[in-house]
């Protein structure tokens, strides 16, 4: 092998590699994801991302979108607005994503939404709850319930479906808890519920002794408790151990098997409003639940379902638009009418999702179907 041949070989190889790289690059459609993989929100972030990854796998196995494969470009934002902003800029400018999906909490999502709107790139919030997120502009959508909507459903559940009239609120003191409770309070009167007392707690709390002492004194027949599995689990467990018999209503933050594991037998009978119906007859939902468990060796949860749904909506819109032009995709998202793991998805003029509220109950150590709330007037999300 002489020198010239070697050089020619090298050039040829490089050329082939370059072609291969550009060819492969041209073959994927990129969706950007900002998600907390480290830090305090890591558990939700991991779930949501897993749901998203499953969606991509399912779509790619079925042939991709418009003949190309989907690719997720993932950045860890630690649920911090300070990081989600440069990440959003990078995704839009450097990675040239078609759509952005937030698998992160409200603060990070809200900050990034501004960037996406300015850059006229569609952005879908999988589960972040801050009402201002969609108000950022017409490029921002949300596939999960705004807190208030779910809270209103909770009021109907408590007052009408379960016929409980004396309620105590145990509120997680962050945007999630507070917006849920705002919705509950808004409709409490309509369903004849008297709110006896409200007790806020911090996301870091795991011992609820003082609150439970007060709740015992209040003697309600229903407790509307907001929180995430790592607060709800201990809370429910301690409530029952203290002899509190009232029905406990939770929301999607409870919706994970880990909640049941933590609370053990105390979780029996807890009812939640959520978007994942484990008794669903829908093929989409059933496949999601089964395949998630297979792929990740872990039971699925609401946050994962939300991540999954967001990707599916993005992909369907790109397919409908027939191109990766961001404006066209945005219009397609607005017209979404898709059956996803969390129900039939469509959006109102603000980009808020319109879908039924699922009600699940813990029975024999698992979440099971209990009811569905489809009252469109009640569940209408804000339109501005």
């Amino acid at each position: 092998m002489n020198f010239r041949t070697a050089i020619r070989g090298l050039l040829f190889g490089t050329l082939m590699a370059a072609v291969a790289i550009t060819a492969t690059a041209a073959e994927t459609i990129k969706i950007g994801v900002n998600v907390p993989l480290t830090g305090f929100a890591a558990s939700d972030g991991t779930s949501a991302l897993n749901g998203a990854k499953l969606a991509v796998k399912q779509l790619n196995d079925a042939g991709g979108i418009n003949g190309k494969k989907l690719e997720l470009v993932i950045y860890d934002d630690q649920a911090s607005p300070k990081q989600s902003v440069p990440i959003a800029t990078k995704l839009i400018e450097k990675d040239k994503v078609v759509v952005g999906v937030s698998c992160s909490y409200s603060g990070a999502t809200r900050a990034a939404a501004g960037i996406y709107q300015e850059a006229k790139t569609p952005y879908i919030s999988a589960y972040a709850i801050h009402p201002d997120i969609t108000r950022t502009g017409n490029y921002v959508f949300r596939t999960s319930f705004v807190g208030e909507v779910q809270g209103r459903a909770g009021a109907k559940l408590a007052g009408e479906i379960l016929n409980k009239k004396r309620a105590v609120l145990i509120t997680l003191n962050n945007d999630f808890g507070k917006s849920l409770v705002a919705g509950f309070k808004e409709k409490a009167n309509k369903y004849g519920i008297t709110i006896l007392n409200e007790y806020p707690y911090s996301i870091k709390d795991r011992q609820f002794g003082p609150i439970i002492a007060r709740v015992k004194a209040d003697n309600p027949d229903v407790i509307y408790a907001t929180g995430y599995f790592f607060t709800a689990g201990p809370l429910v467990s301690q409530l029952r151990a203290a002899g509190v018999k009232a029905t406990i209503i939770g929301q999607e933050g409870f919706d994970t098997q880990t909640f049941i594991k933590i609370a053990g037998p105390a979780s029996e009978g807890v009812i939640i409003t959520t978007s994942l119906d484990r008794g669903s007859k829908s093929a989409e939902t059933k496949h999601f639940i089964e395949q998630y468990e297979q792929m990740f060796n872990h039971k699925t949860d609401m946050v994962a379902a939300s991540g999954h749904t967001a990707i599916k909506v993005a992909a369907a819109a790109i397919q409908a638009a027939g191109s990766t032009d961001r404006a066209a995709v945005r219009d397609a998202i607005a017209k979404t009418d898709l059956v996803a793991a969390t129900g039939t998805i469509s959006f109102n003029s603000l980009g808020e999702v319109i879908k039924d509220v699922q009600v699940q109950i813990v029975k024999n150590g698992e979440f099971r179907h209990y009811a569905v709330i489809s009252d469109a007037a009640l569940l209408a999300p804000p339109a501005q």
């Binding site: 707690y201 002794g209 203290a242």
Partner: protein, 286 residues
């Protein structure tokens, strides 16, 4: 009734805080270091206790293994992190400790996952009821553990040779050394005992919550600092009392001041108030 309930809850929380804070104040008393990564050892105690219990079915064994194991881990941390930087300005140890703590939390998350782990068959789940008072067996166990460990510590430092030598070294290292006390051994003992007690607290909290998470040490990491300052840095008795005061204040404060201050602020507001009148804490340095 409500008053009594809140008081009991405050004492339980205070008891757990005191187990954690004692280790912190012991290290400060001896080395003048704010040992933030102590909270990481507390978390490790929770993990080991839970995992050993799940493996062997015995919570007692879990607690023992946890306390001994974490005691040793504490000694390792002293040797690797603090010994090289003993003569440097205080910031150095503080930042190194914080870095270590962040790394520990991450290691737990990477190894054990972000969701947290639970007992397969949680022990001590019963409840003791008398009149309208409900006390979970696990809560009673927590109180018993805290009281026993603190009493044991007190007896140890008073009636055993090693304990007396240790106390002497904390009060005046040079004098103790001139009497033949091996200061290095005392340091290791210090870290062992403090870390073991934190592990005890960790195991108890694991039981009370039926949950061990990688970030369970983040609140103690700063709250314990407030407690040891309130108690008078280096004063063990003061720390225990401060811990109980903070536990009780939080119990009542979250209910009655909850509209105005969040939980952490209550402890710090109390601390700042006290420091304005007694700048060296409630009790003088032990």
């Amino acid at each position: 009734m409500l008053f009594f309930d809140l008081l009991v809850q405050g004492l339980i929380q205070g008891g757990i805080y005191s187990l954690i804070a004692i280790g912190l104040t012991l290290v400060y008393g001896l080395l003048r270091i704010l040992h933030v990564s102590h909270a990481g050892l507390y978390t490790l105690g929770g993990y080991i206790a839970l995992l050993v219990t799940n493996l062997t079915g015995s919570f007692t064994l879990g607690m023992i293994v946890s306390m001994v194991g974490v005691g040793l881990a504490g000694m390792v941390i002293y040797r690797l992190i603090y010994q090289p930087i003993l003569n440097k300005p205080p910031f150095v140890a503080l930042i190194a400790s914080i870095g270590m703590f962040i790394a520990m939390e991450e290691i737990y998350r990477i190894i054990f996952g972000p969701y947290g782990i639970t007992f397969v068959d949680p022990p001590l789940q019963g409840t003791f009821t008398v009149a309208n008072i409900y006390l979970r067996h696990s809560e009673i166990a927590a109180i018993v553990l805290a009281v026993s460990l603190i009493t044991a510590l007190s007896l140890f430092t008073r009636y055993t040779r090693i304990g007396i030598a240790w106390r002497a070294t904390v009060t005046d290292p040079e004098m103790a050394q001139s009497f033949g006390v091996d200061v290095i051994k005392v340091r290791y003992l210090n870290f062992f005992i403090g870390s073991a007690m934190a592990a005890g607290a960790g195991g108890m909290v694991a039981l009370l919550n039926n949950l061990v998470e990688p970030t369970m040490g983040s609140v103690p990491s700063y709250k314990a600092l407030a407690i040891i300052v309130l108690g008078g840095l280096g004063n063990v008795k003061g720390t225990v009392i401060a811990a109980l005061i903070i536990g009780i204040s939080e119990a009542f404060g979250t209910i009655y001041l909850g509209d105005f201050l969040d939980r952490d602020s209550i402890a710090f507001a109390l601390l700042i108030l006290v420091l304005m009148f007694k700048p060296t804490g409630l009790f003088v340095r032990g």
